[in-house]
C-alpha cells in the first residue's frame, strides 16, 4: 500500500510517496536520498539513525514514515541551522570525537537533542535533583544521556570532551 506524505527535511518541503511499511529512516535514505542518518541496527539499539523530529531526538528506524506526515526532520546535514549545530560540529572535529564516522551524524543529533532536554529539566537515571528546572550536565549526565548512541570505534572520551565544551 502506498501513501503520500510531506516531510520537512532540513528546512525543505519534501513530498514523498512510499510503501506504508517504510520506516522514517528508509524514507529518508532510500526515497529522498538523505543519507546523513545511518542504519546501524534498524532496531533502535544503536542510535546511528538519530534525527530531530519537531525538535526532539528520535531513532528514525523505529518510526513509520506515514505517521510523520507534516513533521519537521533535522538531520546532521541540516543541524548547522540549529543553535547547537555549528558548535557541536566544531567540537567533534577539535576533540576527534569519531573515527569511522558512521555513528557520528547520530551522535551530533543526539547531543543537540540531549542539550535541550537537560535545559528543559528532563531528568536522567543519574540526576540527583529531580525537581531542578535545568539539569547541569556533568560527565556522568552526559555519559548517561548519550548511551543510546553506540560507537564501536570507542570515541566516547572524545565525544564527552566535545559535548562538555558545548554544554558549558
Amino acid at each position: 500500500m502506498e501513501a503520500t506524505i510531506t516531510l520537512r527535511v532540513d528546512g525543505e518541503e519534501r513530498p514523498v510517496s512510499l510503501d506504508t511499511r517504510t520506516s522514517l529512516l528508509d524514507a529518508l535514505r532510500e526515497r529522498l536520498g538523505v543519507n546523513a542518518p545511518k542504519k546501524g541496527c534498524d532496531h533502535g539499539q544503536c542510535g546511528a539513525c538519530t534525527v530531530l523530529v519537531d525538535g526532539r531526538r528520535v531513532t528514525s528506524c523505529l518510526l513509520l514514515a506515514v505517521t510523520q506526515d507534516g513533521a519537521s526532520v533535522v538531520t546532521a546535514a541540516g543541524l548547522g541551522a540549529e543553535a547547537e549545530g555549528e558548535p557541536l560540529r566544531r567540537a567533534f572535529l577539535d576533540h576527534d570525537g569519531f573515527q569511522c564516522g558512521y555513528c557520528t551524524p547520530g551522535q551530533v543529533c543526539s547531543a543537540a537533542g540531549m542539550l535541550r532536554e537537560a535545559r528543559a529539566g528532563h531528568a536522567s537515571h543519574v540526576t540527583a535533583d529531580l525537581s531542578a528546572d535545568e539539569i547541569p550536565l556533568d560527565d556522568a549526565e552526559i555519559r548517561e544521556r548519550m548511551s543510546g548512541n553506540l560507537c564501536r570505534c570507542g570515541a566516547y572520551p572524545n565525544i564527552l570532551a566535545a559535548i562538555r565544551e558545548v554544554a558549558r
Binding site: E30, N35, F92
Partner: protein, 698 residues
Amino acid sequence: MTGVAERAVGAPLVRRDGPLKVTGRAAYAYEQPVADPLYLFPIEATVARGRIVSIDAAAAEAADGVVVVLTHRNAARLAPDADPELRILQDDVIRFRNQFVGAVVAETSEAARYAAGLVRVEYEEAPHDVTFRADHPELYAPESVNAGIATDSVFGDVEMALAKAHRTIDHVYSTPLEHHNPMEPHTTVAAWHGEDGSGRLTLHDSNQGASTARSMLAPVLGIAPERVRVISPYVGGGFGSKAMPHAHVVLAVLAARLVGGRPVKFAMSRRQTFTQASHRSPQIQRVRLGADRDGRLTAIAHGSIAQTSRFKEFVEQTTFVTRSMYAAPNRSTTHRAVPSDVSVPGIFRAPGETPGFFALESAMDEMALACGIDPVEFRVRNEPEREPETGLPFSSRDYVACMREGARRFGWEGRDPAPGGTRAGEWLIGTGMAGCAYPAYFLRGGTQAAVEALPDGRYRVDIAAADIGTGAWTALAQVSADALGVPVEDVDMAIGDSALPPAAMAGGSMGMTFWGTAIIEAARVLRERFGERPEPGARVTATAPDNPHVGKVSMHAYGAHFAEVRVNADTGEVRVSRLLGMFDLGRVINPRTTRSQLIGGMIMGLSMALHEEGVRDPRFGHTVNCDLAQYHIAAHADVEDVDAIWLDGDDRYYNPMGAKGVGETGIVGAAAAIANAAHHATGIRVRDLPMTPEKFLR
C-alpha cells in the same frame, strides 16, 4: 625522507574527512549514487546441517515489486576451487545455520524483505555439532595457524622445569564467541556492465582494502581482476570483519548477474552480520608458569584451543606472541582446534594477541602474586635481551620503559599488593596492570603508490589504501607532504578505490608500513626524474621496496595498561574507573588520530573484559543474542577515564617513517589489566570472560 625538514609528520592535524563525517555527508557504500537500483534481501538456512530438498519461490516471484528470486538453481557457476566461504549457491548442502540459500531482489527494500519471507525451503536435516570444549573428540592440530605461523614451538624441557620450579601456576582461561559489530553493517552494491556476465563488475563495498577485495573476488567469479572495480572511500569500521570479502558480497554479485545491469544494493541487517561477517572463535587456554626463588621464569607453557568451521579452517595465532614476550629457558606453545558446523571465524582486532594476552598477562599477575613480587617488577625481572625463541635482536623494545613510566603516571607506587584491601561504601576498589605487545607482520608486499604533479605546486597521491576510521586520509597526506617537501595543504589524497595503485589492506596494523613506504618511494623517484619543480602531469608510480630487516630483527610495538576498577560488593557490578595505556609506537605520525585509535582499542578491550559474549544454541546452531541489545558492546556510560600516551620513539627497522603499528596495539592486554585489577579489588580471580556481575558474587 627526502632530506627536507619534516613538518607534517608528528602534527596533530584534524582529520581531512572530518567535516564530511560530522555533517553526515561522507558517502558510505550504500550511499554511493547509482542509477535505478534494486534491493536484495537474503534467505537464510533454518537448519545447521543437511540438504535442501525443495525451494518453492512461486509466491515470492508473484509478489509486487519482485524482480527475481536467486537460489542455487539459477545462480551463475563459480570457480570450483574458490574459497569455500565465498563459493555460495553452488549446491544444495547446508553447512551452518543461517547460511545463505538464496535471495529476493525487488524494486524496494520492503518488497524484497516481505517476499523473502514467502520463499518456502524444505530441508533434509542432518545431525550437527556446534559444541566447543577442550575434550572434544575431534580436537586436532592445524598444519599452521593464521598468518602462516607455526602451530607449536618447543624449547628445553617444560615438564622437568615445572617439576623443579620454586613456584608454579597452572590455570585455564577462556574467552567467548565475540562479534566485531562495526557500526556500519557490511554492505555491497553490485552492478554488472556488459553482456551475459562477460563484462565488468563494479562494487561499492564496505571493506578494509579495495585491492584485496578485488584480488579475492575475481578468481571466485572466474574473471580477470582488471574487470572488477571496488570503490570504498568511506568505511564505517571493520576491526577485521571487513578485511576480506564474505559471502554477502558474492550473493549481491550473483543476484546482479540476473537483473540486466541494474545495481543491486545489499546492506546486511545487524542480525545477519553475526553469522555472515566472521567472528572471533571462543577459546580455551592453559598457561603454566614456573619460577625460581628470585622470581625468574624457568618455564612458560601456553596452549590454546579454538573453534573453527568444519568447511574452512581458521585458527588464531593465540600463543604466538608468548614466544617473544618473556625470557625463560624452557618453553612450549601450542594451538589446537575443534571443527564445528558453524560459519567461518576470522580475524578480529589483534587476532591471537588479544585473547592470548588475556591469558598470558592474567597468568603473569597470578605468578607475580605467587612469588610475592610487584607485577611491574616481576615483568621487568623477566625481560629478555633477545627474542627468546629466535635469538633475534629487538629492533627497539621499550616495554620496561612503558611499564615504569606508565606506573609513575598512574600512581602505582606504594600499592598494597594484597587483594580486597580497599573499600569505599559498597565498592571494592583495586588496581592492576598488564603488558601489551603487537608484532610487525609483513604479509603482503607489492603495495604501490603514484605521485602526480598538479598545477600551482600541488601534488596528488593515489593509492588504494583504506580509512576505516584510522585517520589514513590525513596521516598519508602528512607522510606524502614530508616525502615531497611541501606543505600538507598542497597534497591531495585519493584512496579507497581499486582503480588506484594496488595496496595492502588496512589490517594487522600494517597499513601505514606498506602505504607510507610506497608513497615515500614514489616521491623519491618523482624528484629523481622530474626535480623539484615538475611540470603538471608528471607522474610516477612506484612499488614499496621489501623491508630488508624482515627475519633479521624482532619487531613489535609494546605497551602497558594500568587499570583502576571498582566492584560492587552487593551486586557484583564491575566499573572501570581509570584505564591508562603507555605505549612504545616508534614515531607517531598524527598524535590526534593515534590517541583515538589507542583509546578505541582499549575501550574495545574493556568491552571484551566486561560485556561481550555470543551465546550459541547447541540445539539449533545459531547465535541467540545476535543484536546490539543482547550482545552488549561498551556504551558511553560504561566508559569513564580512559587515556593513552606514548614514549618518544623512532624505529627505522619498521619502515622509513619509523612508525610501529597502532590500530591493534591498544586492545592487547587491556582485558587482562582490568581482570587483574578486579582481582586486586575483590580477591576473586575471573578466568572466564566476560566478567559479568554473577562471577563476583560468592
